[in-house]
């Protein structure tokens, strides 16, 4: 008897009770967006207290500033959802950007960009294999791997800065050029990539598996999911995100070097978690990572625009992060 299609021979006498009242449903919806409430509160505060915040040019800047952390946060979110950390993100970023520039020197700009992305994917694959095969906790496995990658970056560049050829310099800056609606090309790319990853995670069978593996590894395994492949795939996605972020940074700087974006992997994880993705895996969403990244950028941007004494900046930044995450948390708990 195939259950999928067949109707039960003898349906149970009672049907399950009415499926949730609309009232409670709305509550569920609302509580899920606590972090957005916090974000909007900060946006309103900034709009009221400065006259430069809500300008078109500032919005363009803000989005542009958000791209790097945003991409890394999207990659970190995929990994965290599947129950692993990726501490190699910023090292992968540096190596891919360097590889991109080196390849560019012997070919041309588009090929170089492509090479960087391929390098990112490959590095992600290697990271994933190390984590899966060694069976070590991903935190420490990726920490060690990131040290190796940084080392590779140093070896490849001999500790120097690498540049594209003089004739390529101009096109290499393409990601900083204005594009659709005046947004920078980097922003446009960021939006496209993030939407693609968001759809991948929320609508595909792969996405479902990611959540299952992160939520309960054993249950996922017993459901016939190849847990190892899912993790490797998550690292590959994260690697590609890192490579794209690296290209943006390199394009802005006109060069690449082994120390690029040191420490950015932590900011990325922070963004993911601030957005409301559970650090234990299995719960969260890509948009949350992006919102987290946006929030972090916003706090910095707002400060710069307000022109307050930077000595208090850190204290206030920390407080704002606590405020945002606590708001989120409380809204969620209230309806428990």
């Amino acid at each position: 008897m195939t259950v999928d299609a067949a109707t039960p021979a003898e349906p149970p006498a009672q049907l399950p009770p009415a499926t949730g009242s609309t009232g409670s449903r709305r509550a569920v919806r609302f509580r899920d967006y606590g972090i957005l409430v916090a974000l909007i509160a900060i946006v309103i505060a900034l709009s009221l207290s400065t006259d430069t915040f809500l300008t078109r040019s500032n919005m363009i800047n803000l989005l542009d500033q958000c791209t790097v952390v945003g991409l890394l946060a999207a990659g970190a979110t995929v990994c965290i959802l599947s129950g692993v950390f990726d501490l190699t993100a910023s090292a992968t970023l540096a190596v891919s950007a360097i590889v991109g520039v080196e390849i560019m020197r012997v070919t041309n700009v588009p090929v170089g960009f492509g090479a960087a992305v391929v390098a990112g994917a490959l590095l992600g694959f290697v990271t994933g294999m190390i984590v899966v095969r060694s069976g070590i906790n991903s935190f420490i496995a990726t920490l060690a791997t990131s040290i190796i990658y940084r080392g590779v970056a140093v070896v490849v560049t001999a500790g120097a800065i690498v540049y594209p050829l003089g004739s390529q310099t101009e096109n290499f800056g393409a990601l900083t050029w204005p594009s659709l609606f005046g947004l920078t090309s980097a922003t446009v790319m960021f939006v496209i990539v993030v939407v693609a990853i968001g759809l991948l995670i929320s609508t595909t069978t792969f996405g479902r598996r990611v959540y299952a593996v992160g939520g309960n590894l054993e249950a996922a395994q017993l459901s016939g999911i190849r847990v190892g492949s899912i993790h490797v795939a998550a690292y590959v996605i994260s690697g590609v995100c890192s490579a794209l972020a690296g290209l943006i940074l390199a394009s802005r700087a006109g060069s690449a070097q082994s120390t690029m974006a040191t420490g950015a992997e932590l900011t990325a994880i922070a963004a993911a978690v601030i957005g409301g993705t559970s650090i234990l895996g299995g719960e969260g969403a890509i948009w949350r990572g992006v919102v987290g990244a946006f929030l972090l950028t916003l706090i910095g941007n707002g400060f710069n625009l307000l022109g307050w004494d930077t000595i208090y900046q850190q204290v206030l930044q920390g407080c704002l992060i606590l405020f945002a995450v606590t708001t989120d948390r409380w809204l969620r708990r209230r309806s428990r």
Partner: protein
Amino acid sequence: MSTTAPSISVRGVGKSYSGVTVLRDVDLDIAPGEVHGLVGENGAGKSTLLKILGGVVRADHGTLSFDGEQVTFARPRDAIAQGVSLISQEGALVPALTVLENVFLGRWAQTAGVRRAGHDRKRFDELIELTGFEVDPRARVDLLPTGVQQQVEILRSLARGARVLAMDEPTAVLSEHEKDNLIALIRRLADSGTTILLVSHFLDEVLAVADRITVLRDGALVTTDDAATQTPRTLVRQMVGREIDMLYSTPDPIPDDAPTVLSARGLRRGPVQGVDLEVRAGEILGLAGLVGSGRSETLRLLFGADHATEGTVDVDGATLTRLSPRRAMAAGIAFVPESRKEQGLVMARSVSENVALSSLPRRRVGPVVRRSAERTAVDTVSRLVDIRAAAKDAPVETLSGGNQQKALFAKWLLCSPRILLVDEPTRGVDIAAKSHIHHLITELARDGMAVVCVSSEIEELLALSHRVLVLRHGRPVGEFPRGTAKEVVIAAAFGDEGEPT
């Protein structure tokens, strides 16, 4: 806190979760030293009521009094201080710690803060003597079979020397022998003045041990009555609100030409010491044994969840090489594991996601999940096993224990397997749903599915299976046809006829 049991009175207690009422105005009085049974369908609110008494959940309204004095339980600590000890349905062990540590969790013997393990060990031995359980105090609990874990929980409650013992389905995965031990123990404790609240879906058991029984339905209290005035039939009527047929469904005879679908030869690994078995299409094979006899481990080997160190698994006569859950599934095997929390469900994800998980590839366009097909499939199968959830997109952890079990079963039905391995399929499931699941299994077998079923409830096995294979210390020690007397099977599981050769 005095040492004698209090008289408890519950007044107007209600609880709702995001708008859905799960307990409404419950009034209940429990006398000191009473054994009070609590029965009801899955999702009736039994666990919720117990959790309120144990300080785990706060009631939205209503009061609780002990010996006429109102008490507020804001956290488990407060309840413990009043002498209440709760064995929760989902289990609450610290996986990486040993049995000894878990039994005395939070109550370790100490001198000036320094732990005295020796002292605890002595008390542990006393408890073992009292209960007749067989548990190694040095074993890590996460490596123990579920049945033994359950015993650890029971030992812990006893170690606290509680005045009020609230047990949520303590016997769900205990085999007959341990079950009987526990029932006797409950009686003895009650006689020595401990109040006991017992939630169970085994109505016989409740009727046998309880002084009074309360029936809950849809969160409301239906009756509280002397056990002597009740029978299983009256209880069911009060629980469900109508008469239902509680007879076990009988499997159809296996056609003579039914081929052998699944067979295993000389399976070995850890506790499994050489298991041979054969199942034909349309056949239901029951696996019986004591707690820890290696039944679950045998199923895991058949499914490739663990790798056998020796032995082979054949499907349709062909040996499955490099067996893994994926390969097993590809060969048409489905496996309903015994622990829904650890091995079965992704607790934080929704009911529908969980139910759909193992059959995802069946409903997709390219890589994208076909949501509407998924909704239809999940709805159909949930109705089939009668899952009652506030919403299909609610996290599965918000379901009552029995409904979680049904979701787990539903998940594997959606794979339309040819071979079904089920471990404790009716653990924590109410009596109506249980006969429903039995009905389902026999129906699936009639359509040609081969079923291997592990259950600690021998009666269930004997009624459901064509054959029952008894395991002892990881070896098959006997095979019995339908209709064999329960005692005979228990004796075999026990090894009363001497060590197997």
